[in-house]
Protein backbone atom coordinates (compact mmCIF):
# COMPACT_ATOMS: atom_id res chain seq x y z
CA UNK A 1 0.00 0.00 0.00
CA UNK A 2 2.96 2.33 0.45
CA UNK A 3 3.26 2.30 -3.33
CA UNK A 4 -0.10 4.04 -3.68
CA UNK A 5 -1.10 7.29 -2.00
CA UNK A 6 -4.72 8.37 -2.10
CA UNK A 7 -6.20 11.74 -1.12
CA UNK A 8 -8.22 13.14 0.45
CA UNK A 9 -9.01 10.74 3.29
CA UNK A 10 -12.57 12.03 3.46
CA UNK A 11 -14.76 14.32 1.43
CA UNK A 12 -18.12 15.94 2.06
CA UNK A 13 -20.09 17.50 -0.81
CA UNK A 14 -23.63 18.59 -1.43
CA UNK A 15 -25.83 16.87 -3.98
CA UNK A 16 -24.86 17.98 -7.46
CA UNK A 17 -21.26 18.73 -6.49
CA UNK A 18 -18.23 17.25 -8.25
CA UNK A 19 -15.99 15.41 -5.79
CA UNK A 20 -12.47 14.67 -7.03
CA UNK A 21 -10.32 11.90 -5.54
CA UNK A 22 -6.63 11.63 -6.35
CA UNK A 23 -4.21 8.74 -6.48
CA UNK A 24 -0.43 8.87 -6.83
CA UNK A 25 1.68 5.79 -7.47
CA UNK A 26 5.36 4.93 -7.61
CA UNK A 27 5.56 1.66 -9.51
CA UNK A 28 5.87 2.29 -13.26
CA UNK A 29 5.03 -1.37 -13.90
CA UNK A 30 1.36 -0.78 -13.13
CA UNK A 31 -0.59 -1.33 -16.34
CA UNK A 32 -4.25 -0.99 -15.39
CA UNK A 33 -5.78 1.70 -13.22
CA UNK A 34 -9.22 0.98 -11.70
CA UNK A 35 -11.33 2.70 -9.11
CA UNK A 36 -13.42 0.59 -6.74
CA UNK A 37 -16.49 1.62 -4.73
CA UNK A 38 -17.25 -0.03 -1.40
CA UNK A 39 -20.41 0.25 0.70
CA UNK A 40 -20.41 -0.78 4.38
CA UNK A 41 -20.61 -4.53 4.79
CA UNK A 42 -19.98 -5.18 1.09
CA UNK A 43 -16.98 -6.08 -0.99
CA UNK A 44 -15.40 -3.52 -3.33
CA UNK A 45 -17.08 -3.19 -6.73
CA UNK A 46 -15.32 -2.08 -9.89
CA UNK A 47 -16.50 1.40 -10.87
CA UNK A 48 -14.33 2.44 -13.80
CA UNK A 49 -10.84 1.67 -15.07
CA UNK A 50 -8.32 3.07 -17.53
CA UNK A 51 -5.31 1.79 -19.44
CA UNK A 52 -2.11 3.88 -19.44
CA UNK A 53 -2.32 4.66 -23.16
CA UNK A 54 -5.42 6.80 -22.61
CA UNK A 55 -5.54 10.14 -20.72
CA UNK A 56 -9.24 10.24 -19.92
CA UNK A 57 -12.20 7.87 -19.78
CA UNK A 58 -15.81 8.67 -19.04
CA UNK A 59 -18.59 6.25 -18.08
CA UNK A 60 -21.86 7.87 -17.13
CA UNK A 61 -21.22 10.32 -14.28
CA UNK A 62 -17.75 8.91 -13.55
CA UNK A 63 -14.54 10.13 -15.22
CA UNK A 64 -10.95 9.02 -14.79
CA UNK A 65 -8.16 11.42 -15.67
CA UNK A 66 -4.72 9.83 -16.07
CA UNK A 67 -1.35 11.61 -16.08
CA UNK A 68 1.34 9.05 -16.88
CA UNK A 69 4.31 11.42 -16.55
CA UNK A 70 3.18 12.58 -13.11
CA UNK A 71 2.21 9.03 -12.10
CA UNK A 72 -1.20 10.21 -10.94
CA UNK A 73 -4.79 9.45 -11.75
CA UNK A 74 -8.02 10.87 -10.41
CA UNK A 75 -11.72 10.09 -10.19
CA UNK A 76 -14.34 12.76 -10.85
CA UNK A 77 -17.99 12.18 -9.97
CA UNK A 78 -20.34 14.48 -11.87
CA UNK A 79 -23.69 15.52 -10.40
CA UNK A 80 -23.03 13.56 -7.22
CA UNK A 81 -26.00 11.93 -5.48
CA UNK A 82 -26.58 10.77 -1.87
CA UNK A 83 -26.42 7.21 -3.19
CA UNK A 84 -22.77 7.82 -4.15
CA UNK A 85 -21.89 8.02 -0.44
CA UNK A 86 -19.35 5.24 -0.04
CA UNK A 87 -15.62 4.60 0.29
CA UNK A 88 -13.62 4.81 -2.92
CA UNK A 89 -10.31 3.06 -3.56
CA UNK A 90 -7.82 3.44 -6.34
CA UNK A 91 -6.21 0.07 -6.97
CA UNK A 92 -3.57 -0.01 -9.71
CA UNK A 93 -2.78 -3.47 -11.01
CA UNK A 94 0.55 -5.20 -11.56
CA UNK A 95 1.14 -8.79 -12.65
CA UNK A 96 -1.53 -10.58 -10.62
CA UNK A 97 -2.61 -8.22 -7.89
CA UNK A 98 -4.40 -4.97 -7.17
CA UNK A 99 -2.55 -2.55 -4.87
CA UNK A 100 -5.25 -0.64 -3.03
CA UNK A 101 -4.93 2.90 -1.75
CA UNK A 102 -6.04 3.76 1.76
CA UNK A 103 -9.49 4.87 0.63
CA UNK A 104 -11.55 8.05 0.51
CA UNK A 105 -14.80 8.21 2.43
CA UNK A 106 -17.27 10.30 0.44
CA UNK A 107 -20.44 11.71 1.93
CA UNK A 108 -22.98 13.42 -0.33
CA UNK A 109 -25.63 15.41 1.48
CA UNK A 110 -29.05 16.15 -0.08
Amino acid sequence: QQQVKQSPQSLIVQKGGIPIINCAYENTAFDYFPWYQQFPGKGPALLIAIRPDVSEKKEGRFTISFNKSAKQFSLHIMDSQPGDSATYFCAPYNTDKLIFGTGTRLQVFP
Binding site: Q6, G43, A45, D96, K97, I99, F100
Partner: protein, 112 residues
Protein backbone atom coordinates in the same frame (compact mmCIF):
# COMPACT_ATOMS: atom_id res chain seq x y z
CA UNK B 1 -26.72 -16.41 -7.18
CA UNK B 2 -24.53 -14.88 -9.81
CA UNK B 3 -21.94 -13.32 -7.51
CA UNK B 4 -19.04 -14.50 -5.38
CA UNK B 5 -20.25 -15.93 -2.09
CA UNK B 6 -18.32 -16.32 1.13
CA UNK B 7 -19.06 -18.18 4.34
CA UNK B 8 -19.34 -17.67 7.16
CA UNK B 9 -20.08 -13.95 6.97
CA UNK B 10 -18.96 -13.47 10.56
CA UNK B 11 -16.61 -15.56 12.64
CA UNK B 12 -15.52 -15.07 16.23
CA UNK B 13 -12.54 -17.14 17.32
CA UNK B 14 -10.65 -17.34 20.55
CA UNK B 15 -6.94 -16.70 20.30
CA UNK B 16 -5.17 -19.89 19.37
CA UNK B 17 -8.11 -21.48 17.54
CA UNK B 18 -7.94 -22.55 13.91
CA UNK B 19 -10.45 -21.11 11.42
CA UNK B 20 -11.47 -21.96 7.86
CA UNK B 21 -13.06 -19.42 5.53
CA UNK B 22 -14.81 -20.53 2.36
CA UNK B 23 -15.13 -18.83 -1.02
CA UNK B 24 -17.46 -19.87 -3.84
CA UNK B 25 -16.37 -18.00 -6.97
CA UNK B 26 -18.53 -17.21 -9.96
CA UNK B 27 -18.94 -20.35 -12.05
CA UNK B 28 -16.35 -20.59 -14.79
CA UNK B 29 -14.01 -18.01 -13.29
CA UNK B 30 -10.46 -19.24 -13.65
CA UNK B 31 -8.76 -16.75 -11.35
CA UNK B 32 -9.37 -16.50 -7.61
CA UNK B 33 -7.86 -14.05 -5.17
CA UNK B 34 -7.84 -13.56 -1.39
CA UNK B 35 -7.41 -10.14 0.18
CA UNK B 36 -7.29 -9.02 3.83
CA UNK B 37 -8.93 -5.72 4.81
CA UNK B 38 -8.15 -4.28 8.23
CA UNK B 39 -10.60 -1.79 9.72
CA UNK B 40 -10.41 1.56 7.94
CA UNK B 41 -7.81 0.35 5.44
CA UNK B 42 -7.72 -0.76 1.84
CA UNK B 43 -7.64 -4.47 1.03
CA UNK B 44 -4.22 -6.11 0.90
CA UNK B 45 -3.37 -9.00 -1.41
CA UNK B 46 -2.86 -12.39 0.18
CA UNK B 47 -2.78 -15.01 -2.57
CA UNK B 48 -3.83 -15.85 -6.14
CA UNK B 49 -4.97 -19.05 -7.85
CA UNK B 50 -5.35 -19.85 -11.50
CA UNK B 51 -7.60 -22.89 -11.55
CA UNK B 52 -6.17 -25.18 -8.85
CA UNK B 53 -2.62 -23.79 -9.06
CA UNK B 54 -1.56 -21.30 -6.42
CA UNK B 55 0.59 -18.97 -8.51
CA UNK B 56 1.31 -16.27 -5.95
CA UNK B 57 1.24 -16.51 -2.16
CA UNK B 58 3.57 -13.61 -1.50
CA UNK B 59 0.98 -11.73 0.57
CA UNK B 60 0.32 -14.42 3.16
CA UNK B 61 1.55 -12.81 6.40
CA UNK B 62 2.91 -15.95 8.05
CA UNK B 63 3.04 -19.73 7.77
CA UNK B 64 -0.12 -19.82 9.90
CA UNK B 65 -2.03 -18.82 6.78
CA UNK B 66 -2.79 -21.46 4.18
CA UNK B 67 -5.06 -21.39 1.13
CA UNK B 68 -6.19 -24.13 -1.21
CA UNK B 69 -8.40 -24.61 -4.25
CA UNK B 70 -8.13 -28.35 -4.91
CA UNK B 71 -10.62 -28.66 -7.78
CA UNK B 72 -10.22 -25.24 -9.29
CA UNK B 73 -13.51 -23.88 -8.02
CA UNK B 74 -14.23 -23.47 -4.27
CA UNK B 75 -11.34 -22.12 -2.20
CA UNK B 76 -10.62 -22.25 1.52
CA UNK B 77 -8.40 -19.90 3.49
CA UNK B 78 -7.23 -21.47 6.71
CA UNK B 79 -5.66 -19.62 9.60
CA UNK B 80 -4.01 -21.68 12.30
CA UNK B 81 -3.50 -20.57 15.90
CA UNK B 82 -5.30 -17.27 15.33
CA UNK B 83 -3.86 -14.10 16.85
CA UNK B 84 -5.59 -10.79 17.60
CA UNK B 85 -3.81 -9.13 14.69
CA UNK B 86 -5.60 -11.55 12.36
CA UNK B 87 -8.88 -9.72 13.05
CA UNK B 88 -9.98 -8.29 9.71
CA UNK B 89 -12.38 -8.78 6.83
CA UNK B 90 -11.20 -11.48 4.44
CA UNK B 91 -12.32 -10.82 0.88
CA UNK B 92 -12.40 -13.29 -1.96
CA UNK B 93 -12.53 -12.20 -5.60
CA UNK B 94 -12.78 -14.07 -8.87
CA UNK B 95 -12.33 -13.18 -12.51
CA UNK B 96 -12.72 -14.94 -15.81
CA UNK B 97 -9.05 -14.32 -16.47
CA UNK B 98 -9.20 -10.67 -17.24
CA UNK B 99 -8.68 -7.73 -14.95
CA UNK B 100 -12.26 -7.11 -13.81
CA UNK B 101 -12.37 -8.78 -10.40
CA UNK B 102 -15.68 -9.56 -8.72
CA UNK B 103 -15.42 -9.37 -4.96
CA UNK B 104 -17.53 -11.26 -2.48
CA UNK B 105 -19.03 -9.64 0.64
CA UNK B 106 -16.19 -10.84 2.84
CA UNK B 107 -15.90 -12.75 6.11
CA UNK B 108 -15.41 -10.59 9.19
CA UNK B 109 -13.06 -12.43 11.55
CA UNK B 110 -12.79 -11.27 15.15
CA UNK B 111 -10.19 -12.90 17.36
CA UNK B 112 -10.80 -12.43 21.07
Amino acid sequence: GAGVSQSPRYKVAKRGQDVALRCDPISGHVSLFWYQQALGQGPEFLTYFQNEAQLDKSGLPSDRFFAERPEGSVSTLKIQRTQQEDSAVYLCASSIGGLAMNFGPGTRLTVT
